[in-house]
């Protein structure tokens, strides 16, 4: 079953076509990587998928339902969550409050009691290995920790599909391995993952399929091994 499908997506900022007639899809249970040089339109595509931007043309389907033009919170309630390239956290709150807000507002059909909420949030923090930091103010956290907190917050909305925008950049090798392990764990929990990443080692190790973007359109697609051999991809990344 197709979890996410984009048909002929285009988006222009004034005269600049950031995304140009892109088609892509993500199967249920897959880990799909989205790579491409800077300015290829990857983050713009994520913004369109999550509802932050409205595409100039094209249709986006999530679990078979047309979600083009929906508000971010409606898309979130249908089971999609995301993180941001530049972290967007509530910096004057504690980590715990950040996640609590996501738990309370991301699951509108559930009535969650105070105790139950606390238990669930603690579980999520434990999964990410940051249980002891949960009452720290976000201001005092390192960037790596803030990125992990964004994932915790996204998970609190109970997503079926998780969009990760460069969660591994700026991590130490040890943290990188932890993150890769974590992503495979998330898949075991039944969460489909669509991720933008620049760290090639990570993306090759984790993804089932990779989509390569250049100047707003898809130029290659396939398993990591296939993409590495692709002549156009090599030309873009290494020069001819």
């Amino acid at each position: 079953m197709k979890m996410l499908e984009g048909i002929g997506i285009s988006h222009s900022f004034g005269g600049l076509r950031a995304v140009d007639n892109a088609d892509f899809h993500v199967e249920q249970g897959e880990i799909v990587g989205l790579i491409g040089p800077n300015g290829a339109g990857k983050t713009t595509l994520f913004n369109i998928v999550s509802g932050a931007l409205k595409p100039t043309s094209g249709t986006i389907k999530f679990k078979g339902e047309d979600i083009t033009g929906m508000k971010p919170h409606q898309i979130c309630h249908r089971g999609m969550a995301r993180t941001f390239q530049v972290t967007k956290l509530f910096t004057n709150m504690s980590a715990f409050e950040n996640v609590r807000l996501a738990l309370l507002f991301g699951n509108p059909e559930r009535k969650i009691g105070r105790k139950e909420a606390e238990k669930e949030i603690n579980q999520l923090f434990a999964v990410m290995g940051m249980l002891s930091d949960r009452h720290k103010p976000v201001k005092d956290m390192s960037l790596a920790m803030q990125k992990r907190l964004e994932i915790v917050r996204a998970l609190a909305t109970n997503p079926r599909l998780l969009l990760l925008d460069e969660v591994m950049s700026g991590l130490t090798p040890k943290e990188l391995n932890q993150s890769m392990h974590l992503i495979t764990q998330l898949r075991k929990r039944g969460i489909t993952i669509f991720m933008i990443e620049h760290v090639m080692h990570a993306i090759m190790g984790v993804c089932d399929r990779i989509i390569v973007f250049h100047y707003g359109s898809k130029i290659a697609e396939g398993t990591p091994a296939e993409v590495v051999k692709d002549p156009t991809v090599n030309a873009i990344y290494l020069g001819k």
């Binding site: 932050a52 919170h73 941001f84 709150m93 991301g106 909305t157």
Partner: protein
Amino acid sequence: MLISTIFNKRKFTLSMILLSIALLAVVPRFLPPYVIISLITVLMYIILTLSWTMFSGSTNYISLATAALFGVGVYTSAVLSGSFPLIVIVVISGVLSFILALLVGSLTLRLKGVYFILFTFGVTALIRNVIQWWETHITLTVGRHVSSPGNDTVYTYMVIIYALTLIFIFLLQNSSYGMALQGIGENEDAAEHIGIDVTRLKVVTFALSAIFMGAAGAVMATRWRYIDPTIAFNPLLSFLPVLMAIFGGTSMLGGPILGAVIFTLLQEYLITEYPYLYMLLMGLTLVIVILYLPGGLLVLVMRLYIRLMIQWAKTRFQWQMLKTRWREEWRPKVSMELAQRRLRLQWRLGRKRR
């Protein structure tokens, strides 16, 4: 951090709220009428500042529509004066302000930053001019007289509105919606993406805060007895609540109240003592507060309070030390001395009797 860990306790805030309401309800029986009239003005500013903070304090959307929402209440009260009992007029005014805010909100809350500020201010000017035009061309009146129920009744109404505003804002800030509003203020994109319906939450909160402004306006009209569009929609009433909230500090509930009280009293004092330098001194005070107390006056008060608490702890400790010394060193000496004297006296008295 220290401040928030000590003072963000719900019980403390709630007891302070109830205490202030109780004080306002009881104390005026013992005060001269002049003080009651000043208290009405102070209460008006407190209500406006609090209801402004309700929306703008946490979302960082600076609204300058306060005068419009307040003025609608004032005008409704003037138009309906005499045809209904005051309580009905106050309720109708609140509802009308609510509706106006709902309209303005759903038009403007898509705007961000300076555009929102300008639009809300524009709305105020628009409403004032429309009503002015209506009065001069259609109804052919310039001002309106409002029958007054007497200052004591006005005061009672203001205290009730004050209590309702305060309790509402307390409940809001302690609910998940209050937290969501704060989230909107800190990062609206993130708030949207974790499932908060930001537009609806903003519009509804903005509209709810208008109820209290409208109700206060309706009561103030009966206190002023004569109103016209320039009094009802005085643009100063858009700016003052913002200044008062910043003056007092918006991080805690006490801030806007403190700001409104001190600002109003300062204003009254400066107007009577230095009528010519009044504006200059007012501006200077504001500049000093904003430069040197970025968190508002409340932060200063809290610092003083903490220093006081530390001093208090020290004093208690010294007192304990004194008590131990008394018990261990001085009391044995004193009691020994006393026993000696008693025995000596007994001995002397016994000798005489013999």
